[in-house]
Symmetry: C2
């Protein structure tokens, strides 16, 4: 049993969430810390999850008219400057390349923090006529933002992987539809693939993406009561089109200004996934993302080893044939208990145990990762049975996350109640809000909570008539939360 | 017909290969020039080809035990230094990040020129026992090498996309098998997907990857008579394992040194592809890589337009249903001739023309991109017919490239003959070679040709007994060529 101690998770999700998260990420071999603070190495088990997230999203993007492209890693300083007419810019967060080989560069190059300033001029160049619209580009790449904070794999790193979509449209309707299409695809990714319910909303005016008309967001609640921005989709209006001169000739040959959008989802989604479902035994993954969906552990004595292993191998072959990602763990040098722990740590959603009884009765024992429930089923209809159980595992994960979220949306109608409720429970607190950034300040200062979002629908009646902070007429409902 | 002039290729492949190549890349919308010299923007049509190259190779890698991972974009200067015990290093070619936000960094960070120096220490950390071997990691990423040369899209750019594989094995046999497996996958990519015959060989000792025991290569001949290194696979021996301390305990618990490999293929393969098959009408792509495999152009008069377009749409729907990538070009504002030119320029392998005659006779007319051959076929068995013709297009491309290559391998047994033959014909010239780098010099100096490769098999008899340059005993056969 040596090694088992070292293998297992020692921290507690409930009592030391941050340390527990870091331990799960490392021991489940999702990621490791790079030698430079703020950077991580994404190990094969982590990257395989990211690849599956990419596959889902990329397929949906392509089905809805998006084309992938690749723009340079570096952006000349003068290009970033050009954006300053409309936005504050990323200056304090930019990593600068100053030398190529032994020579100093004439102009510094920014390692892209996001690519509006290099992609938009090309869109401007490529769009001539209304027939060129809509133009929808996306790239999967890494970006760098030099934020001086503690490294938290996938949540907070100086370099991160993401996709960034950039589109141009003939009018506001087209661009607004695009904004919502991407937001809904992000929601679908969380709900149907990551087994995580999310809230769709808008960022308050003062917290929009620089230059955006509207920033929409999907927000996910973490088990420590904090909200994570899970993906954002921006309707940029004509501000970028004006700054970068994206015009087109319409059907009457008149020159018009395009409307643009941008939208992005990063590997933070993977951090939120790990944080939401995993437990004190280690990683928990939904079946669609798990590198192995099923692990088969044969349990034998010397006198029945051949029969048991043959039966297990046969089960594995049948599942593999059907496209289930299955691993047969027939290692001689580990006992079944060790194997259970190891695969629980690594987040395999379903374990099949096969011993002499299963062989005799032509059965299999299935054990669900998230709750350890085990069920004996007939060996007949193997593939259907396994797929049903994988669906059940998904449903359990989703139901558990949904239950948590539903219990964590509360209301408050005064500053004290907001502070008290978030202080005591975490989660979201809804209140009336006048729309003024000044009314966010006292909450931010006192407990570092902020307005995570407001409802998407601008015409929705506020939850209370008055702003919980200043008492003036409420313009909308604020969802207060501590955030990542 | 306005626009047609601007649309077409004006340069000649035969007489101005470089200018012609640049024109094809831009007008077929594969890539555009970035504002900084040495950088390009890969447009959707170019990126779609790269994605298909990735899909093929990535599938083969995964089928043969490779796992994808992602390592940081930046490498601390001290890590690059560590490699200097064994290699000269990439110093003159490195882009350096010196500032994060407003602050100067304590240690400069290299934008990765290749990742041995950051990946190998992690492999050393992760490998403990013989059970951890082989360990095979790959990443798809961009790398930066600050070479001060003219920008040639996909061939010569400061930033380029590639995959880099890094593996560790228990012994030389395992690592050598790995080296050859990857080289053969590169060969298969060129021959079965890109429709390009290649030569497999080794780089001469003095031209190996720094620190490698053996550098193997696939070389492709370009129409201007120069050789392109199409992908390289290095057996690194134990030199990196020694420098980075990759050891493992074997079955007897004895500590052993691992043997490592690395191997890479870049978007230069796309450059070679474009250069090889394209012509004065524009881009030519093999069917497996083309964004659209088939374009359907309906040819109508007013009185039969509805019938023709309906027939064409029906053909398109049936092909689409069968998984053929098909585009129906039913634009009203362009005549058929314009459409032919545009899709030829963009490299669609097969055109289907549908006019009133085809409708009446229930036929289709198929036109092969590479040579304009056109064939009338029955509308029955549409999918099989189209797939046969796509296969024929592939076969034509391969045969043409193969014929070129076969005619371009000559022999020479003196310095004068090498110079004269390459000077007159380009291509490869085989000669005996003593193995001494000094004997490469006079050829390099005179005509900038070099030894592109020597045969893989170290025991193969040289083509001549004597070195064509110095007259000493020949050790092996040198394949001389001008190179990219």
């Amino acid at each position: 049993m040596s090694g088992e101690q070292e293998l297992g998770i020692t921290e507690s999700k409930e009592h030391s969430t941050g340390e527990w998260y870091a331990e799960v990420v490392q021991k489940a071999e999702m990621a490791d810390y790079a030698p430079m603070g703020g950077f991580i190495v994404t190990r094969p088990r982590g990257y395989a999850v990211w690849e599956r997230i990419q596959d889902h999203l990329d397929g949906w993007f392509k089905d809805t008219g998006v084309q992938n492209a690749y723009f340079p890693l570096f952006i000349p300083e003068s290009y970033l400057e050009r954006e300053k007419d409309i936005v504050e810019g990323f200056d304090p967060e930019v990593a600068w390349v100053t030398h190529g080989g032994y020579d100093e560069l004439e102009e510094r190059l920014a390692v892209r923090p996001t690519s509006e300033s290099i992609i938009t001029p090309f869109i401007a160049d490529w769009v001539r006529s209304h027939r060129d619209l809509p133009m929808r580009l996306n790239q999967w790449c890494s970006v760098v933002r030099w934020e001086a904070t503690e490294t938290k794999p996938f949540f907070r790193t100086k370099e991160f992987l993401w996709q960034e979509g950039h589109t141009a449209h003939a009018d506001e309707d087209g661009a607004w539809d695009e904004t919502m299409t991407r937001l809904e695809q992000y929601e679908k990714l969380y709900e149907d693939v990551l087994a995580m319910p999310v809230l769709k909303g808008r960022k308050p005016e003062h917290d929009k993406f620089p230059g955006a008309h509207t920033t929409t967001t999907v927000e996910a609640l973490m088990p420590d009561g904090k909200s994570v921005q899970g993906g954002t989709s921006h309707y940029l209006g004509t501000s970028f089109a004006k700054a970068f001169d994206i015009t087109y000739s319409d059907e009457n040959e008149d020159e018009q200004l395009a409307h643009t959008t941008s939208w992005g989802l990063s590997w933070r989604s993977m951090g939120a996934l790990i944080m939401t479902h995993s437990d004190d035994q280690g990683l928990v993954l939904p079946p669609a993302l798990a590198p192995e969906q099923v692990v088969i552990v044969p349990i034998w004595q010397e006198d029945n080893k051949d029969d048991v292993v043959e039966y297990a191998a046969d089960v594995a072959a049948e599942l593999d044939e059907a496209g289930v990602r299955v691993h047969l763990d027939d290692r001689d040098n580990r006992n079944p208990g060790f194997k259970y722990n190891e695969w629980e740590l690594k987040g395999v959603p379903l374990r099949i145990e096969v011993g002499p009884n299963e062989v005799d009765d032509e059965e299999i024992t299935l054990v669900h990762r998230p709750d350890g429930e085990n069920v004996v089923e007939s060996r007949d209809q193997l593939v259907d049975t396994v797929e049903d159980h994988l669906d059940t595992v998904f449903a359990k994960l989703y139901a558990s996350a949904e239950e948590t979220l539903e219990g964590e949306i509360r209301e408050a109608d005064s500053r004290e109640e907001i502070l008290g409720t978030i202080g005591q429970h975490g989660g979201y607190v809804k209140s009336g809000w006048c729309g003024d950034e000044d009314c966010e300040e006292p909450i931010k200062e006192a407990i570092a909570a902020e307005i995570a979002m407001v409802p998407l629908d601008r015409d929705e009646e506020p939850v209370h008539d008055e702003c919980a902070i200043c008492g003036e007429a409420a313009e909308e409902t604020a969802y207060w939360a501590k955030t990542y």
